[in-house]
């Protein structure tokens, strides 16, 4: 049984992603809304009330559809909220408006007798806003854990209904039946003929079981964040297969799965983190009036002529109408493959020990270059370099710099370590930007912790600048907890006010892994 206390211990940290990761996801989600999903409700007003067959719910008391102005208003509201969400302005309000707008439109769109099960898309912005996808402060883990639970329960309803309607009956195949019906009524999806010719009957039956199994697995694995994430990846492939076999491009769950991806890590590894940061900073500096003007312009184009991407695709012919959604599903699958490759690489390489050497004063100029390059990410709140060769030599009196050299002998990773009594400290952890995203920081931290452990230290302290909102989450995953705050030692270097967060990890003598 999952209760609040259990959730507090198990879920909170397992589901945490950094505020920066959430902010990147916010950008992607807003872009997806504008590129693929909006405008969404203009078609409804073209149909008479003879089509009005509402499900039990908010529209069941009405006798027909609202006027065209209502749907214009809902779509315009959604477009404006998406623009502000992308820009990172009034994010809480924009998130609430997107959820409210999607609900206000969906209740009428699904009053034609067919419900698209995209409730996760509707509620996603509320959970992500609570988790901190504005990116301005520390992220919260519990809203993501709660969202994971909601997803799992929703998927469980699908599994339960399938079981109740005979999906596990070995004498009948539901996937084959639905695929045939879709091919006849909607048109043959891309892989339909191929699957029909080459898949034996047992494979179709297996797909029935696999579908029910996947949908049931969410609620079984939700208490383990890492397994839940893996399941989300598998579900992306599941939706891709459904699209290929049944012509159902069910895109609305993909953002729900994507909310759990460590986008910060992915963008750093892909080398697109700096352009993304620059884009986000540029967007966040836009004046509110500029954003309102953008909302007006986008709304005018979208409501007057339609979504430009959809218009472009419609020129290819009506049979290609689902192409953007199909491409989005393929992109999700590609992201999952990339994540799997990174995961496998980390599993292969991270736990190998790294040959750290102690730097000498002769290394100081090279170390200063490396550290200043790695700390360029702090330029948004600092007016000068992180350090200098002279500073490094001075610091060597209080501790030592440990260095990992590359094959050509140049320092690739550097970290300053010191200890007093039985407390260790490390700081200035710097990875050559060209070598970032390869798990080197993890390996060096692992080595430093082992070094302190062997030296008899009972704990390690680190200091994190409060404006680096992505770092507490990173270190929390490694077992560090916030233990206090300190003044920033050189406030004259700052362009924005900040302080240091002290994080501490207790070292057990047998604790050899993180």
């Amino acid at each position: 049984m999952i209760d609040g206390r259990t959730s507090g211990r198990v879920w909170d940290e397992g589901y945490r992603v950094s505020a920066r990761s959430l902010a990147i996801f916010r950008l992607l989600f807003g872009t997806m809304l504008l590129a693929l999903l909006l405008p969404r409700y203009q078609w409804i007003a073209r149909f008479p009330d003879a089509f009005f067959h509402p499900p039990p719910g908010l529209t069941s008391l009405s006798s027909g559809f609202p006027s065209r102005a209502y749907f214009m208003g809902v779509d315009a509201l959604l477009i404006a909220a998406a623009v502000f969400l992308i820009a990172g302005r009034f994010v809480g309000l924009a998130s609430c408006l997107i959820s409210a707008g999607l609900l206000a439109g969906n209740i009428w769109a699904y009053s034609f007798g067919k419900i698209d099960h995209d409730i996760l898309l509707v509620i996603l912005p509320l959970f992500l806003a609570a988790a901190g996808w504005h990116g301005q402060s520390r992220s919260r883990a519990w809203p993501l854990a709660l969202f994971a639970l909601v997803i799992s329960l929703a998927m469980a309803t699908a599994a339960w209904q399938k079981i109740a309607s005979g999906w596990l009956d070995l004498s009948a195949s539901a996937v084959l039946g639905h695929s045939v019906a879709s091919a006849v009524l909607v048109g043959e999806p891309p892989a339909w003929q191929l699957a029909l010719r080459h898949l034996p009957p047992a494979a179709w039956e297996l797909m029935d079981y696999a579908t029910v199994g996947l949908e049931s697995a969410f609620i079984i694995l939700v208490a383990r964040a890492s397994l839940f994430r893996a399941l989300c990846g598998a579900a992306c492939f599941f939706h891709l297969v459904v699209a290929q076999l049944m012509a159902i491009t069910f895109l609305s769950n993909i953002p729900a799965y994507a909310a759990f991806v460590d986008w910060e890590d992915l963008t750093v590894r892909a080398g697109v983190d700096h352009p993304l940061d620059r884009a986000q900073r540029w967007l966040s500096r836009r004046h509110t009036w500029h954003l309102l003007a953008a909302c007006g312009a986008v709304s005018f184009v979208y409501l007057r002529w339609g979504n430009p991407l959809r218009l472009a695709v419609s020129m290819l012919g009506p049979e290609h109408a689902s192409l953007p959604r199909m491409l989005a599903l393929w992109m999700a699958a590609v992201v999952v493959v990339i994540l799997i490759v990174f995961w496998l690489r980390d599993r292969t390489f991270v736990h190998h020990s790294v040959p750290l050497r102690t730097a000498t004063p002769e290394d100081a100029p090279a170390l200063a270059r490396l550290i200043n390059q790695a700390f360029r990410v702090e330029d948004f709140f600092k007016a000068c370099d992180r350090t200098s060769a002279a500073d490094i030599v001075e610091m060597m009196a209080d501790g030592e710099f440990l260095v990992l050299d590359s094959a050509d002998g140049a320092p690739t990773v550097a970290v300053f370590v010191s200890r007093a009594d039985r407390r260790g400290y490390f700081g200035m952890l710097s990875v050559d930007p060209r070598m970032q995203g390869r798990g080197l920081a993890h390996r060096v931290i692992d080595a430093v912790e082992n070094r302190f452990r062997r030296a008899g230290c009972h704990s390690i302290d680190i200091h994190v600048v409060s404006l680096r909102t992505e770092l507490p989450g990173f270190y929390q995953k490694l077992g560090y907890v916030e233990s206090g705050t300190k003044m920033f030692p050189r406030p004259e270097e700052l362009t924005r006010p900040c302080h240091l967060i002290v994080m501490t990890k207790a070292l057990a003598s047998g604790d050899g892994a993180h």
Binding site: F112, L185, Q193
Partner: protein
């Protein structure tokens, strides 16, 4: 440090989804159709292969007759555009099937829609024929093995 009230609210938040899903299950078990909004994913109940391997599919054929006596078949996607494709069958089932698919509002809409599709002709009559079809997959090929006419509606568009 989190306050007790925060912890209590979070506990309630974690309990609420369970209660919602249980309430939905009880609602549908009482015989009501699926509500919206609801925390539910698609069931895909219904269409399965039957014991003899055939698959039952309900289909619709829409024919239009013009003032000059000519006739044409109107594909459902063309008639119901720009409705989402996957909504069309259920929407047709609601609007173009009894008890009154020929309401005044529906006739008015059909006249306007057919005038858009056939701008140079005047439609006078619409025939909506529903079928119960059966398909089989043999050697990797889908074949229709039976077609049973279900109900037919003649809608006079000159009213």
């Amino acid at each position: 440090m989190r306050s007790r009230s925060f912890t209590r609210i979070r506990d309630i938040a974690f309990t609420l989804p369970f209660l919602i899903v249980l309430a939905e299950a009880a609602f549908m078990r009482a015989g009501y159709p699926e509500p919206y909004p609801a925390l539910m994913m698609p069931d895909f109940a219904g269409t399965r292969t039957s014991a003899d391997g055939s698959i039952d599919v309900t289909s619709i054929a829409i024919g239009v007759r013009f003032e000059d006596g000519a006739a044409a078949q109107v594909p459902m996607p063309a008639l119901l555009a720009p409705m989402p494709r996957l909504t069309m069958m259920q929407a047709s089932n609601g609007a173009l099937r009894g008890p009154d698919p020929a309401s005044t509002a529906m006739i008015h809409w059909l006249r306007g829609r057919l005038a858009e599709l056939y701008p140079d002709r005047r439609a006078t009559n619409l025939e909506v024929q529903w079928y119960r079809d059966a398909y089989r997959v043999d050697d990797g090929v889908v074949r229709r093995v039976a077609r049973v006419p279900d109900v037919t509606y003649h809608i006079d568009l000159t009213r």
